[in-house]
């Protein structure tokens, strides 16, 4: 399996990413993850929608991230076809508690804990932690990857403005 270094850090310490590097312009690899009810969900079931795939190390935090909530609300208002899939290694039970999704209909939290198929297919599985790196991928209605952002420092938020700019071009 491909391993890449020099892409992300945690508090400045380098980490290794496992899995396939993906680039804008390629077909978005299909994957299977679990929803909050432990049911399998495939990316291909969202064909016809604009998917924001947002991976994070963990959703299970005792504080609220208003930045992320703001982004989720703005992104979901951009069009009826926009769907936000937030992926992490948290168990489905923990994902249910995530406040940045509560009340925002178009956000679905999905768990990659069982097989890490998303992490490996998109090259964002952190070898040292078995968690997902913070990254955002935009997939258009035809299933093509149109935007990729991997956040260099694990403890930082993504550049939400850049994502919204890229999203507006697809809507």
């Amino acid at each position: 399996m491909e391993e890449r270094t020099g892409i992300i850090t945690m508090k400045g310490n380098p980490l290794t990413l496992v899995g396939n590097e993906v680039k804008a312009g390629e077909g978005a690899p299909d994957f299977t993850v679990l929803d909050n009810n432990l049911s399998p969900v495939r990316l291909s079931s969202f064909r016809g929608k604009i998917c924001i795939l947002s991976s994070v190390p963990s959703l299970d935090t005792p504080v609220c991230d208003l930045e992320t909530r703001k982004f989720n609300e703005e992104a979901s208002r951009l069009g009826p076809d926009v769907v936000i899939l937030t992926l992490s290694m948290d168990l489905p039970f923990a994902q249910k508690r995530w406040c940045a999704a509560s009340g925002v209909d178009k956000v679905q939290t999905l768990s990659d804990h069982r097989d890490a198929t998303f992490g490996i297919s998109y090259g964002v599985l952190i070898k040292e932690l078995r968690l997902l790196a913070r990254a955002v991928f935009l997939v258009d209605q035809k299933g093509t990857l149109r935007y990729v952002q991997i956040v260099k420092e694990l403890t930082n938020e993504p550049d939400y403005e850049a994502i919204l700019d890229a999203l507006k071009k697809l809507v």
């Binding site: 208003l66 509560s102 550049d159």
Partner: protein, 188 residues
Amino acid sequence: MLGFLIILMLLLATLALPAVSANKPPQKGEPLPSFNLPIPKNPAEKAYLGLSGEGFFKISQIKAKVVIVEIYSMYCPFCQKDAPGINELYNLIEKNSGLKNKIKIIGIGAGNTPFEVETFKKTYQVPFPLFPDKDFTIHKACGEVRTPYFIVVKINDDGSHRIVHAQLGDYPGPEPFLDLVLKASDLK
């Protein structure tokens, strides 16, 4: 030639840096980020804060030795869970004649409209002033902190001020937090 190449490399290196937030979360030892709050129209709240007139004020103008600021959101379930405990903190202070005029509490609803602030106030029966930050202006000035974020500000007699404690989440309850505030601000 070498000097030119070094300068070029440094320039390219800075272009590769990711965008960073302009402000950091408020920290102990620093002054508060600069922002204004509207002077409350409610006479009881105005009196509680020791303010007069109309317009805007800065937290350091509150008539107190210590101000506890909670940056919260109506939509934050942790802020909702903490609300009764912070009300209790207010009660502990107000019942203590030695502390009642020295320590004040305010809340700032990040991204909340006046309506949302009123709703939170009514739902949780909040006895201290809450302020809306509809456009996240104050939230941005405070480094876009996660919520709840607690800032304890000590105000000196000459009007200068300093943050003596800052904390993200983990509200320990009214008595332990009051203890912490008293120790941090040398009121104990």
